[in-house]
Symmetry: C2
Subunit: 360 residues, 2 copies
């Protein structure tokens, strides 16, 4: 039996037997190092020709994107970055300036989020391989997992979807840029080349959850918008916070919702008209194409969060810039894409459309 016969998911399922079961299944692993402190660790391997290409990605952009993807995994877990390590495999024929530009891109991204490269390894390899491990710190009661979504939760996206996929299309087919208004094309390309991990969401989220929890459980100040209906989320023991589920949309919005639902044993309805799109999609793409980019495109690196509707509403209001409630957690296991204008029939979304390594 070869790796390609069982594909990425099949291989991962077999390899997870070698890991402690309690740490598998999220964007990153969580290790409790001391009471009151958790270490969050995530790792990504990027291979030249598979994950980046000189056609669409300069060395600097490849570096930024790799760093951003790992910081996004930390954000998706609720963790603040402590640092990253960079393992690099290279041929001797690569130019030194290419390597320096790669590191330049990595550190530019890290500096924006007040963190840095803290170690690494450089080795000879016939194919350029970039392996990044990021680690962060989180309060054990503020870790965001995939398996905590509950019936009735609102599904929040922290920004627009589809921009990165559209930017990639413009890089692959530069002639398409003539259909776009000035500035719109560069904004979409920038969304692809310089994605922003949403670490900025975390302090806002904690503040909102804390104020709602305080109101519900009588600790501290009342919540800003009483009266609050009974929550379906009993607090964890020792936890002053409402529970929350989430991950990032690096593999697409559809994938994120499907993964959360599978891990939580629930279903969802997504309202296609509520998904925030880049402005340019209005005049540039058909509704169908726009939705395709938004839900399957991937690499927007927004957070997809499931939480009770009142704090969800508060979060969307505070974040602005495309943050929206895009659906609801339901019973069952199906994830349904619904069009409130009823132009299109309901679609049942499946994991199969996501990017899978090894399968052709």
């Amino acid at each position: 039996m070869l790796v390609r016969d069982i594909g990425e998911q099949g291989l991962l399922e077999r390899l997870q037997r070698f890991c402690p079961p309690e740490i598998v299944g999220d964007d990153a692993a969580v290790l409790v190092t001391k009471p009151g402190e958790s270490l969050v660790v995530t790792t990504d391997v990027l291979v030249d020709g598979v994950h980046f290409s000189e056609i669409t990605t300069s060395a600097e952009d490849a570096g930024w994107r790799a760093a951003a993807a790992n910081l996004s995994d930390l954000a998706a877990m609720g963790a603040s970055p402590l640092g990253i390590t960079v393992g690099l495999g290279l041929r001797g024929e690569v130019s030194v300036s290419w390597v320096e530009e790669l590191y330049q891109g990595i550190t530019q991204c890290l500096q924006k989020y007040n963190t840095s490269i803290v170690g690494g390894d450089v080795v000879r390899s016939p194919v350029i391989t970039l392996s990044i491990t990021a680690f962060g710190q989180a309060h054990p009661h503020r870790i965001i997992r995939r398996n905590q979504a509950a019936l009735g939760d609102a599904i929040v996206v922290t920004g627009v979807h589809g921009a990165s996929r559209a930017g990639l299309e413009l890089l692959l087919h530069p002639e398409l840029r003539q259909n776009l208004q000035q500035g719109d094309d560069t904004a979409l390309i920038r969304a692809h080349q310089r994605p922003q991990p949403r670490l900025d969401v975390l302090p806002i989220l904690w503040e909102i959850l804390h104020s709602f929890s305080s109101a519900l459980y009588g600790r501290g100040n009342p919540a800003p918008t009483p009266p609050i209906p009974p929550s379906p989320h009993p607090p964890l023991s020792h936890s002053p916070l409402l529970t929350i589920a989430g991950m990032d949309s690096s593999d697409g919005l559809a994938d994120a919702v499907l993964q959360i639902c599978r891990a939580s044993g629930v279903g969802a309805v997504l309202e296609s008209r509520q998904i925030s799109l880049p402005d340019a999609f209005n005049y540039w793409l058909t509704n169908e194409q726009a939705l395709e980019y938004a839900i399957y495109g991937g690499e927007d690196f927004e957070l997809v969060l499931c939480l009770p509707s009142l704090p969800a509403y508060e979060l969307v209001k505070k974040l602005g810039n495309g943050a929206a409630i895009v659906g609801t957690i339901t019973s069952g296991s199906k994830v349904i894409l619904h069009d409130q204008n009823a132009k299109n029939p309901d679609q049942v979304l499946t994991l199969g459309r996501g990017f899978q390594h090894f399968s052709q």
Copy 2:
């Protein structure tokens, strides 16, 4: 300018500009996460055909060796392992059982040291690439750095050197096994295939250093072997421990001593007759060949530690099994290999003989 023009050291020097200066230069990076606690992180990339090969290394052994090398880096820093992440690049044509055996070898090694795989990534790549990041925990005053060696320190090795290199030779040239007594060949091959990271040394080392410090500075019980001469090592502020320098001998004993001396701004004399060798070397190899394997061979994964002579002597006595004082830290910057029987002239060791990626 190409990577091969400047070699591994040249590239690393350029890339270190992208890292905070205080964390570069040891086997692993140290991050202070809280007062009283440090996170130690190290990363290694292994490439098929460069770092392992099917001729000498089964998948299981490749996994064990990769895990052992990373745990050894933690041991060299004085840290206890918390876990590792595994990033794997693979062709679809690799057999699933090969991958499972690789993970089997990794987890066998980790289990022996009470730790585990806590995360990873599996991606498609034209060449098999294994990227491991290990992280551990250390008390900030018990971190072993390269730059703390001081004049008069004894240089301790925690075991024999040369066995791994000899084992590799036997794997590459099986006909050589006929020159060895039964059992000696398999022991050397095992030293190459299943190296043991010396995490077991740490609790013994801390106990000895603590008892000597207590005696010197009047805290707690007297040391076991009074009277103690004045130490050249004033304690670090807040530290109840004598200072110590060290690293592992993964790139060879000569390399370890040279790296420590360079980082500490000191020299050293190594006494060739004091370097512990596998018993089989006595009848199998010339003195010259044996010494060559021992100081340049690499991958023995012992610790090379520099500390005052009395605790050094105590440590060697407690460890046994080839642990020895093999030299002394001197002023200047030269590392001299001396033969006390004066058969051979003194040699000045240089870094040039170590394994360098990119250079041919």
